[in-house]
Amino acid sequence: MKITPEEILHVANLARLHMSQEEVGAMARHLDDILTYVVKLNELDTEGIIPTTHAISIVNAFREDEVKPSLDREKALANGPEQNGESFVVPRVI
């Protein structure tokens, strides 16, 4: 299962990661190792097996719909690379 540079660049774009030519090459080698290895899962017949998403099954982990104190605005903004006291400031979207 050879992963192509195009596929890596496509996936990198989905993950919002920039990859140089060199990085794509190195990534391709490592990914091939991993993807070749995981093919062994096809040795197993999993017809009708329900996938596990939760190791321990908990149902309806709800709380009462009560207003409670949340994080203080100043604290919430404190780690912001750029903020105006009210919101986080970012470059334009387009």
Binding site: A15, M27, I34, V38, L41, L44, I49
Partner: protein, 486 residues
């Protein structure tokens, strides 16, 4: 023994009786850090002044008899757990200057019990790794031989405990990240049942696998730490509303017919002969303590690495999407469009192993590949969980090695991620099934490197693990040994 070399239970008694003060204990630990930290490099963030302030408060509490179970005990915390006002980096440049505005629940519990927080310890970036070499701020070194890895991803936790740079530590385990470094550094490390300990404030790597747990010098300390950190937390929707017992009740002499299963797949080809010898010796001692052994099988063991290295990266790719330079963390300020800012910030901030896993995870979840990879892995995860369910009908606990080999040299496998992934084969399944597992020291290799023995149990059966581990520790009589050439 020096104060920093003692256990929680020994120190707590001395503190209670006034034989020693909390400030003296913290000073001794800080002196120790000053002496050996250059060689061990376990800490990313240290705050000696704050630690001494906490120790002073602890002394007041001890005086008026209001001191909690860990009052005056210096602890380290893996840098993946949020600490209010104390930098939390997750071993990553992308969070190099991140200061959380709140404490993780487990940190709150440590503080409520009176523990003295010495600092935050090193780890593989975002807990992705088995050697702690993927720490952006440099790897910790094995205190038993500083040319060797500590293991990972809780390498700093294991090293700081082993080196006497704290009395106990909080680590996390997603595929073995408490148990394996505990084994490599000769300390006790326990991964609780999924949901036993709150994940609130634990920076998420793989949400269905992550668990917080203690690394300590002995089993008694492990039980004490478990008492402090366990319990339902409404802030964690995966937290189980199940009362935790007093885990110290498990620390009794004799195993009274406890059935120990020996999973044959864990004594695999390539198992280091010294690891095998020491683990088998441990099993003999458990028999002497009254246990019965039976050979069992976990037939899907061989598939667990493939399952994990699809599921964990997939969950990670989702959990790490939040690091985009908007609200916290590294931001590339030269970008003049939003998507470029995301791309540049993430690419500059994340290390290679993290990028590798994000790519794998994104790929496994992407359209056209989801069924073949992620769904398939999740189905095999069910088979692995079923293996354990069947086996625990025939025995109380499972005993096996923790890692196929003792620790290896730093940089030895840095260019071969696949070989490191394969070494996780003995610890991964416990996370996939959500069951508890403990690593307890059971000997040393010919080169003086620690070897751990793993005990796994059914969901919420930590007491059986602690009981077996305690009896082994009593008979081995090596828990007082400390590395002596730092």
């Amino acid at each position: 023994m020096a104060l920093h070399a003692l256990t929680i239970h020994e120190l707590r008694e001395m503190l209670a009786s006034g034989q020693v003060s909390a400030v003296e204990v913290t000073r001794d630990v800080l002196d120790r850090i000053e002496k050996v930290e250059d060689k061990v490099k376990a800490y990313i963030t240290l705050d000696p002044e704050l630690a001494l302030q906490q120790a002073e408060t602890a002394d007041k509490k001890l005086k008026d008899g209001t001191g909690g179970a860990l009052c005056g005990i210096p602890v380290s915390v893996k840098d993946v757990l949020c600490t209010d006002g104390m930098r939390t980096t997750c071993g990553s440049r992308i969070l190099e200057n991140f200061v959380p505005p709140y404490d993780a629940t487990t940190v709150v519990k440590l503080k409520q019990a009176g523990a003295v927080l010495i600092g935050k310890v090193s780890m593989d970036e975002f807990a992705m790794g088995s050697t702690s070499e993927h720490c952006a701020f440099g790897p910790p070194k094995n205190p038993w031989n500083t040319e060797y890895i500590c293991g990972g991803s809780s390498g700093g936790s294991a090293a700081s405990v082993a080196a006497g740079e704290c009395i106990a530590s909080l680590g996390t385990d997603t595929g073995g990240s408490i148990r394996q470094p505990a084994s490599h550094c000769g300390v006790v490390g326990l991964k609780p049942t999924y949901g036993r300990v709150s994940r609130y404030g634990l920076v998420a790597f793989a949400s269905s696998l992550d668990q917080v747990g203690p690394l300590t010098k002995d089993v008694t300390d492990c039980a004490q730490m478990m008492n402090v950190i366990s319990g339902y937390d409404a802030n964690d929707s995966t937290s189980v509303p199940q009362e935790a017992p007093d885990f110290r009740n498990a620390l009794t002499e004799g195993l009274r017919g406890m059935k120990i299963g020996i999973p044959k797949e864990y004594f695999l080809e390539g198992l280091d002969p010294e690891v095998e010898k020491n683990v088998l010796k441990g099993i003999d001692l458990l028999r002497e303590a009254g246990a019965e052994t039976v050979e069992v099988s976990l037939p899907h063991t061989d598939y667990c690495v493939a399952v994990y290295y699809l599921i964990a990266p997939a969950e990670a790719s989702s959990n790490l999407a939040r690091y985009d330079g908007v609200r916290y963390g590294l931001r590339d300020k030269t970008s003049d469009a939003l998507v470029d800012m995301y791309r540049n910030s993430r690419s500059q901030g994340f290390g290679d192993e993290v990028k590798r896993r994000i790519i794998i995870g994104t790929y496994a979840l992407s359209s056209g590949y989801y069924d073949a990879y992620y769904k398939k892995a999740s189905q095999v995860r069910t088979l692995i969980t079923e293996d354990y369910r069947k086996v625990f009908e025939r025995c109380d606990v499972l005993v096996s090695p923790v890692n196929p080999t003792p620790a290896w040299k730093l940089a030895e496998k840095i260019d071969d991620p696949m070989s490191v992934y394969l070494s996780d084969i003995l610890t991964i399944s416990a996370n996939l099934a959500g069951i508890p597992g403990i690593s307890v020291p059971c000997g040393f290799s010919g080169e003086g490197l620690p070897i751990g023995l793993q005990i796994q149990g059914a969901h919420f059966q930590e007491e059986k693990l602690l009981s077996a581990a305690f009896n082994l520790e009593q008979r081995l009589n090596i828990s007082h040994l400390r590395p002596d050439n730092l």
